[in-house]
Amino acid sequence: MNVDRLAEMTAIHGRTVTDERDVGDRALAQRVNAEPGPDYGALVRAARDGDDSAFALIVRGHQRRAYTIARAIVLNHEDAEDAVQEAFLHAYRALDRFDAAYPFGAWLGRIVANAALDLVRRRRVRATEELSDAVALPFRDPAEQGELKARLTQALAGLPARQRAVLVMHDVEGFRHAEIGEMLGMPEGTARSDLHHARAAMRRALHDMRSDG
């Protein structure tokens, strides 16, 4: 496939998906959620025909969201990376089965969530303290940052994997309840209920931190 055609397919309202950071803000994430941007149907067709550069564009456009979802479910960086790689590999193998009438992001999100949940089932959730130390919270006081991180991490790890997934898909990635239900194979009402419980736990952790401070 020629480069101009790929560039044309990946244009988003005058922008081009060159890096995941391009879709970092919520407004754009929600636009991507509605899939008005890249013609993923065309990219999928090109990838099906053996065009690796088309699949690379798909990866570039979705890896950040895939990583965040996987990370919320498996809780640590190494497993999240494994789950994301497995998910994209699975998606590549299953390109023939992708229905262009269905949003690509939701289709891939389901694959990512399943890959991560499978990993959790196989390895079981690792201990809370194994969460990556590389994360940095926006607090200047190292003690406060460490304390908040520990509490949030504990609260997050205390949730069932599915509730973590729902929380992150909704609040961080901007998916709708119906989409989350579709991706995780459960009714929309269950997604709402899971979100409610997960948020309550996280809010408690944040509130306790503020009260103690």
Partner: protein, 120 residues
């Protein structure tokens, strides 16, 4: 009441929770995405390579097996045709005409009887 009837005041994203979660879910460094993309594409290339090399490994024996099967099928078909032809020839050459013989025999019975009675 159905699941869709349940309503929680949770339709809008919670910015406080999201803000607290984002750093926890961040990758180890900012330029991680290029690394991840390369790792994924390497897995894809490996997958394609494995497929092609598996095909290459199997191609030669598979072609040999196909040739043997083709020869065997040809020989069997040829033998089968010969056997059918032999059976058909045999059937035709040994075919009887009972109606003609029976008619002749029946026609000769009264004459023989007359000859026997006259002789005695």
């Amino acid at each position: 009441m159905t699941d869709s009837d349940l309503r929680f005041p949770d339709d809008a994203p919670d910015s406080a929770v999201a803000g607290a979660l984002r750093p926890l879910l961040a990758p180890p460094h900012d330029d991680y995405w290029g690394t991840l993309e390369r790792a994924i594409m390497a897995r894809i290339a490996e997958e394609r390579g494995a497929w092609w090399s598996a095909l290459g490994d199997w191609a030669r024996p598979a072609m040999l097996a196909a040739a043997v099967a083709l020869i065997a099928a040809t020989v069997l078909l040829s033998r089968s045709n010969s056997a059918d032809a032999a059976i058909a020839y045999s059937a035709m050459s040994e075919e009887q005409y009972p109606v003609v013989e029976s008619t002749t025999a029946a026609a000769n019975v009264p004459a023989a009887t007359v000859h026997m009675l006259l002789d005695h």
